[in-house]
């Protein structure tokens, strides 16, 4: 029996994915992923590649399913991103005086307009800004003013402020109102758990990477008989795991086909070796594979920085923003012509306090800065009403909220993603649009 535990070409049959994108114990929450071992007598190399391709072609690989609008890529930045550091209000003296140690100086930012500048670590996104693909919505947030991670994440994932108890999420409800064909990829999570925002009647597929999604077998015949046995063992089982088992088996067949195809990232693309970088690479690959992906969810944690925030060039925030900037920009470049049919929304549970705390960090705040990236977005503008940072404008010492996050999401869903029933997605709320998205041409 072989005991090979290193990742070699045979472990990633047919997949160009470099090992640099493997998970690491990074500050942004990297998790050790399993290194698939080669079982005794496993058919590896060219023969297995051919087998994967054969499986792939059986399931109509390459056919683009008709979807209703843009692929929606939702990125949740977990922990509470400090929007005032990401998109700096350079004309606000209150910002500078409240953060003697943590401020980003006006000279350090990438200027956006007269009022705001981009944190230097987000400089890779300035191309998207200049191209008009990137819109920012500052002082955005939920009507729910809780500063609790759990309450806010729950409410935001559900899309119903203050309501953390319930079975569906905003993307899940959206998918119930639009068509998507028979694809298994209507709701995808690149990660290893199911985000609540995808929750709805549409089956969800979660994987950290395309190439890892398979079982090993000693022979091809064994692979087929084992998969069939598993399929049958989960028939007639009235438990949640049974439906997930069916989705799993189907997805195994399709993803092995994708993994078998050679892939080259586009020009100007340099994903970094972080979990987030690895995930955005997977998203790009999946979107470009043409298997009918309709929505993809990625979470990026590591933003809850109560201490040791650092400087604009060094420290925990700088490190996190560096990964965000480099990998989001790489993803955007990697999509190439696919940018026209993709919209990315980034949000967090809340922003952070205006004033530094006593441990070199920032505690939970309120208003945040949302990012919207898309070929059909009216970018190059900071949207929303800026409330200012004077004592009377603040919400208990925090940046206030002047734009309901649901208005941003609703405009994307209606104008870019074909939503015809936004009231079902955000019950009890009538959104008003900021004008950041162009309506899809018919």
């Amino acid at each position: 029996m072989t005991n090979d535990t290193t990742i070699t070409a045979v472990d990633v049959v047919g997949d160009e994915e470099p090992t640099a994108y493997e998970d690491c114990h990074c500050d942004d929450g990297g998790r050790v992923l399993s290194r698939r071992k080669v079982m005794a007598g496993a058919a590896v190399g060219a023969a297995a590649t051919a087998a994967h391709l054969a499986l792939g072609t059986r399931v109509a690989l390459g056919a683009t399913e008709a979807t209703s609008g843009d692929v929606l890529v939702s990125i949740f930045l977990k922990g509470g991103v400090d929007g005032l550091s990401a998109v700096v209000p350079v004309t606000e003296s209150a910002y500078f005086s409240a953060r003697p140690n943590l401020k980003v100086a006006a000279s350090q930012v990438v200027p956006l307009d007269g009022r705001f500048g981009l944190h230097p670590k987000l400089a890779p996104l300035s191309d998207a800004w200049l191209r008009g693909d990137l819109a920012l919505v500052h002082a955005a947030g939920s009507p729910d003013a809780s500063r609790s991670h759990f309450d806010m994440v729950a409410g935001l994932e559900r899309g119903i402020p203050g309501d953390k108890w319930g079975g569906t999420g905003w993307i899940g409800r959206h998918l119930e109102t639009v068509s998507g064909g028979a694809t298994k990829f209507r709701a995808v999570s690149i990660g290893d758990y199911v985000q609540v925002r995808l929750a709805g009647s549409t089956p969800i597929l979660a994987t950290p990477s395309i190439s890892q999604f398979r079982l090993f077998s000693r022979t091809e015949k064994e692979r087929t008989t084992v998969e069939r046995a598993l399929d049958e063992l989960y028939q007639g089982v009235d438990r949640p795991i049974a439906v997930q088992a069916g989705t799993t088996l189907e997805a195994m067949r399709i993803l092995s086909g994708i993994a078998a195809q050679p892939y080259t990232p586009g020009a100007g693309v340099a994903y970094t070796g972080t979990t987030f970088g690895s995930r955005m690479y997977q998203v790009a690959k999946l979107v470009k594979a043409g298997v009918g992906v309709q929505s993809v969810a990625v979470d990026y944690d590591g933003w809850d920085i109560h201490a040791s925030f650092g400087t604009p060039t060094n420290g925990r925030m700088a490190t996190a923003l560096e990964s965000l900037g480099a990998n989001l920009a790489s993803f955007w470049n990697d999509l190439g012509e696919h940018r026209e049919r993709v919209t990315v929304v980034l949000m967090s549970e809340f922003g952070r306090r205006l004033a530094e705390n006593g441990t070199g960090g920032l505690d939970h705040g309120r208003g945040q800065c949302m990012f919207v990236l898309g070929g059909g977005i009216n970018g190059g503008r900071v949207y929303g009403t800026w409330p200012g940072l004077s004592p009377l404008s603040l919400d208990r010492g925090d940046l206030a909220v002047t734009t309901d996050y649901r208005d941003v999401l609703a405009e994307v869903l209606v104008r870019r993603c074909g939503s015809t029933d936004i009231g079902k997605v955000f019950p009890g709320h009538t959104p008003s649009f900021l004008g950041l998205a162009q309506a899809q041409s018919a």
Binding site: Q195, T207, E222, L233, G236, V237, P240, Q244, A307
Partner: protein, 518 residues
Amino acid sequence: MSEGRTLSRRRFLQATAAASGAAAVGRTVPAAASDALTLPIAGASLPLLTSDDTVLHVVNRLTFGPTPELMDHVRTVGVAAFVDEQMNPGALDDSACDEILEVFPALKLTSQEQVAQYGTQSGGDNLVNQLRGARVVRAVWSKRQLQEMLVDLWGNHFNTFPSSGNTRYLKIHEDRAVLRPHVLGRFRDLLVAQLHNPAMLAYLDNMMSSTPKPNENLAREMLELHTVGSDGGYSEADVAAAAKVLTGMSVDFTTCLFRYKPELHHVGAVKVMGWSHANATAAGGEQVANSLAAYLATHPATAKRVAWKLCVRFVSDTPSTTLVSSAAQVYLDNDTSIAAVLRHILGSQEFAASKGAKLRRPMELVAAHVRNLRTTYEVERGLTGANELLRYLGALGQLPSNWWLPDGYPDTTEAWLSSYAVLTRWEFAQQLSVRDMPGVAVPPPSELMPFPRPQTAGAMVDEMVERLAYQPISTAHRDALLRYVGLAEGDPVPDAHYSWQLPQLAALVLSSPYLQHR
């Protein structure tokens, strides 16, 4: 060598937000899939356990999984006696497990010794790895199974993450001195112990918290997660006041043990919900904190949450309000005794009716399969076996002590059902069954069978099912296994075919829905 390298003051890394925050949400929100997943499915549903399987049910719930020996033991002494045994872990001889734990030398060191011996970045990683390895070794091989389940439960309820900063040197002390002595004791004692827990004080920044600008982190989580809960009736003002109370609860940077530091303490009257205190001296601050802990531990909202947590772990994902309320009352009537609440729950009709209702989470699944196959740990290979099991737990998303947020790993089904998770469950069963797992010795699969071996395909399937599942399966599922074997019911099984098929047959039974639930 030891100059006594002191705990670094420089980096007090607040555990950053969730590795799986949505799953934290998932613990309270029945996710997506489950709304759709209760569609009526034609055909036989998963059969209930048969009548003599009160034994299997209790073993499934009180331990990490059955073994033939354990099942025999419980059948012999009876369920009641078995429960008593498990409620009294100190009286159970655990020397066999202790021998395995010798491969983790750090377990015996004080925190200060750990800093001295494992003080580098990679040393710190090594340390955390030993703690994680010890957790999984105990889950599999300890006789004190209920104690291990409760160490897991309370360790997650009071979660601390071994960040790359200080907390990693404090986790072994936490396991040994804070959790284990209290997991079957009184919750109020456990809460006080946690407010003196160096790992908790480091993880949630309290050891640096001081007047006039206290750090609210621990105070907030104490109220929101550890005790009364976000619906428990506290305000932001209560959080701020609790933060003031906790100033001074800190850590000695040389010994890495708890030290109360009066110079950090906020002095002056404080009020948190229905509790107030003059808090008139800096020197008296520790007693003020203990007093607040006593109030919170005995609050009805805390009783409800503790009862709910135990019901979810031991009964089902959705325990009835009746059971939770009655368990909460037992908690209050018995001075917060965890054992009393547990006995009440185990004696309930709802418990008896909940056979197979809980999905095995990764830790429970990995431990169950390793136990079920009568695997032994290869001590001479040191950490290899532990690392192998941890590798799978990592892939499945439940590496011990790897949850970033203070709320701990979720305990309900939907949080664990991504398709990658399902795939990895199957992969683990396969790897274990074909014995491709270094550092642990799985007996040859022929030992799962009686001697002489079954002569027909039907008997082969039946024996494997009985040995690994301890219960009958549906006809349709039995047919699926026969189809895998590739022979008809009464066909003889040629020797070569038998040897080839046996491991995967075992893997398929382990991967079946019957063993995914407990």
